[in-house]
């Protein structure tokens, strides 16, 4: 449980570790897009963590990085083919980003730091936490951009007007992520200062 919470909050891959930013900026225009890519990353993260954890005793330390890469590549291929077969519409929207999961630093980092040392059960929970953290981050950014950009949530029109069309534009991804990171830092600083006063 602790491991999951850590992935979502204390070590959130997007806002705290600032890893795997590319999709966070690239396709987080709607909540749905964020959710879909989040699921894909979650899948790859969990399965490659478990694979590495199972085989950790037979992997020679000198070839561990190539092994990680190939493991991730295999699972990315699996999710890539599955999405292309069953959800062609969503897959078309995500474009190249599904295949790019293979180069996500966050997944390799978790394998290197956690899965190659711990038991299968622990690495499953850790991977789940990280994947969920990524998914939540993507969905939050997607929510902000969708709400402000097209006045909708999950495709349903809620505001009835389009407050800032700018947020749908690609470049706004940078602004939203930057502002949100600043916001989270601000909260953190605020609490630290409070503690310091006490």
């Amino acid at each position: 449980m602790q491991l999951i919470a850590r992935g979502i909050l204390a070590e959130n891959p997007i806002f705290k570790l600032a890893l795997s930013m590319c999709p966070a900026v690239g396709i987080s225009t709607t909540v749905m897009n964020g959710f879909m890519l989040g699921v894909a990353v979650l899948f790859v993260q969990v399965f490659s963590s478990m694979t590495i954890s199972i085989f950790k005793n037979v992997i020679h330390p000198r070839i561990r990085i190539p092994t990680y890469t190939l493991t991730i590549a295999t699972w990315v291929t699996v999710i890539d083919l599955v999405l292309a077969a069953y959800l062609p519409d969503a897959y078309a929207k995500m474009g190249i980003f599904v295949k790019i999961i293979v180069a996500f630093a966050i997944i390799t980092m978790r394998l290197e730091m956690f899965a190659c040392k711990e038991t299968v059960k622990d690495s499953f929970w850790d991977a789940l936490g990280m994947g969920l953290g990524f998914m939540v981050g993507m969905m939050v950014i997607g929510f902000v951009r969708e709400l402000l950009g097209s006045g909708a949530v999950m495709g349903y029109d809620v505001l009835g007007f389009k407050p800032l069309l700018f947020f749908i534009l690609p470049s706004a991804g940078f602004f939203v992520v930057g502002l949100m990171m600043g916001f989270f830092n601000w909260i953190e600083l605020y609490y630290k200062r409070k503690k310091g006063v006490k």
């Binding site: 590319c22 190249i96 180069a103 470049s171 600043g182």
Partner: protein, 313 residues
Amino acid sequence: MTPAKYIHVVAAALLFWLMPFAAVAEGLVVDQKFKGDKEIVVSFSAPVDQAVAENPANYTVFEEPDPDIKLEVASAVLAAGGKSVTLSFKDKLNTAMTHVVVAKGLAGIEKTTFTVSKSYLGYLFGILISALLINNFVFTKYLGLCVFFGTSKKKSTAKGMGVVFTLVMVVSALMSWVFYNFILIPFNLNFLQIVVFIGLVSLTVQAIDTILRKVNPVLFNSFGVYLVLVIANCVIIAVPLILANNNYNVFETFMLALGAGGGFLLALYLMSSVSERMQLANIPPSFKGLPIAFIVAGQFAMAFLGFSGLQLF
């Protein structure tokens, strides 16, 4: 052979290879070109009959790869003198493709067939410019952001990183092209794309690392650090995937890789220049570091949006 002679040989080979594209159709048709993205202008060596030339039904136009999809000619207008005709189309043409035009009954000839295409060198250059500016990998495709934000603190680092990236990108893209066209496609192993490409990229990085260490230790000392970072980056793997998606040939691949690498270098350099200035600025504490870098990148992205209307050829 001296290097200078090599250049001549290469140039000759290139010219020979490009010949079919530059060749002008013989006989009746003297010149043919795209005008805007909805019209084709054809010039003739002799005046043609107006009634025949202005009947849209006499023309059949299609893109070379798919002859079954006929493009509808909305109108054909003969210019004064009867030596040139302008074909207008209902829908926009994909001017990057070679178009085949078949005309019936012109000047008494039953069928006249000719092709319309942009100059191929121009098209190649278009790919380069597109990858460099219009579809800049960092600012409009959002790839390689981890490294982008990680190494854009100092100008010297940014330059080194950009050069190493371009080098790795070109080498690995060309290798991927060879593997894709001669191994993956013939043996129907397309689903192994990701595994093969990531392997090739790692291999290239490792190879450059080893070669540079032996050949030029000075350069290695200044660039070696970045090589490790290159593997875990999505820009590098994106190039092979894009070329596989678009079925690029080897020249197009080279141009794409060069443009992508150059674009990355450009982005890093721009960003690092701003970062150096920003160290003097008074930034709110909660925005220090990454948040402000993101906002600056957002402004760059907006500026690069301006390139989207750029069309050179």
